[in-house]
């Protein structure tokens, strides 16, 4: 048996009735166009994802940061450190330069219980502040805590980083009428205008740069920065918007 010839014959017999469909060329072209469309869609999608991922750091750098007190049940609870917050009487001068984060072992549970007992905390609407400008070298992550002293509720948020730190306090007390009522005014200060309100700004190189004003009756705002950010104080304070 001549196997090669048999193989030839077998193959010829097997395919002799086979013919290509008339639409073969059109099908191949259609398939090609479909592949091109699919690849284009994939490329566009991938480019979109890459662009979105690349935009995240840029967006983080300029988006307004939520600063402050949400009131009872607000979002700040997620960012508060666990532990016990020492609730101390409001100092006349904030001592911020020594500690990077006031009350790092602060007490959420303590603050919460005190707030619930506070008429100011339990009955008032949520207060929120936005930090529109974050100086270079300040990380976007912040730590927040709330402390109560009698009827006064103070929510403190702090940003820190290689460039120093920024701290914003929202003080709620029905007795607040002028900036000095906040109990945070430095010994040497000057009157300035901020957000169309009369504000007190610290004077003197030895004191933490700070400025405070009464946003509305019962709500005061205090903004302080590390000495390295003295020149940015007013810009930071002006970027704070309270709602």
């Amino acid at each position: 048996m001549d196997l090669e010839n048999e193989l030839r014959q077998a193959m010829a017999e097997h395919v002799t009735e086979m013919s290509a469909p008339r639409t073969l060329a059109a099908d191949a072209k259609r398939r090609h166009h479909r592949t091109v469309r699919r690849r284009t869609a994939f490329a566009v999608g991938a480019a979109g994802v890459v662009a979105a991922v690349a935009m995240i750091p840029a967006y983080q750098s300029f988006r307004p940061q939520t600063v402050g007190a949400d009131g009872p049940g607000g979002q700040k609870h997620r960012q508060q450190p666990t532990g016990t917050l020492p609730v101390s009487p409001a100092p006349t001068t904030p001592s911020l330069s020594s500690s990077p984060s006031a009350g790092s072992n602060g007490a959420h549970s303590s603050g919460k219980s005190k707030r619930s007992a506070s008429p100011q905390g339990s009955g008032s609407a949520a207060v929120r502040a936005l930090l529109g400008y974050r100086p270079p070298g300040i990380d976007p992550a912040k730590t927040c805590q709330t402390a109560h002293t009698g009827a006064k509720e103070t929510t403190t948020c702090r940003w820190a980083g290689s460039g120093g730190w920024v701290e914003v306090r929202l003080v709620r007390d029905s007795g607040l009428k002028v900036p000095s009522d906040l109990g945070l005014a430095p010994p040497m200060s000057e009157q300035v205008r901020l957000h169309d309100h009369s504000a007190l700004r610290s004077v003197g190189p030895a004191i933490t740069s700070q400025v405070m004003w009464i946003q509305r009756h019962g709500l005061g705002v205090w903004v302080g920065v590390s000495p390295s950010l003295n020149s940015s104080l007013i810009r930071v304070a002006e970027s704070v918007s309270v709602s």
Partner: protein
Amino acid sequence: MARRDDESFVKFVTERGTALLRTANLLCGARSDAEDILQTALEKAYRHWGKISAESNPEPYVRRILVNLTVSRARRWRVLREVHMSSPPEVPSASETSTVELRGVLLDELRKLGPRQRAVLVLRYWEDMSEADTAKMLGCSVGTVKSQAARGLARLRERMGSSAHTASSRG
């Protein structure tokens, strides 16, 4: 240098489509797979059709794509060890034309060979390509083509031995 256009692609497929489909069928063993592989091969060829010189024959190029696709696909499916058959294997029965029966068995045995060995036999004995052209098409040496063809034929002969003997005795 003149390049090929869309019209020449349609003309080429119209003229050579059937021959290519037959080769594809012998290479992969099943009609449905053959059409799918041929369409894929033509799609790949169409993608670069404009780069092919108008003076040159595009068939070897398309045929090479076809062979490569068949071998690649067979390798991908190697894990499954699928043996494609145009029809379910039949129980041997007495036949008046033993030669026809033997050819059917021969084709079944051809499908059971490895993809490269099958490609060598199809190109050598169906396409009547020389050993050098087959080697060029498969991207291997002439020696490899010779050895693959010899081994493939030996395996067919070995597998056919008992079938041929049975068929002969029936005939």
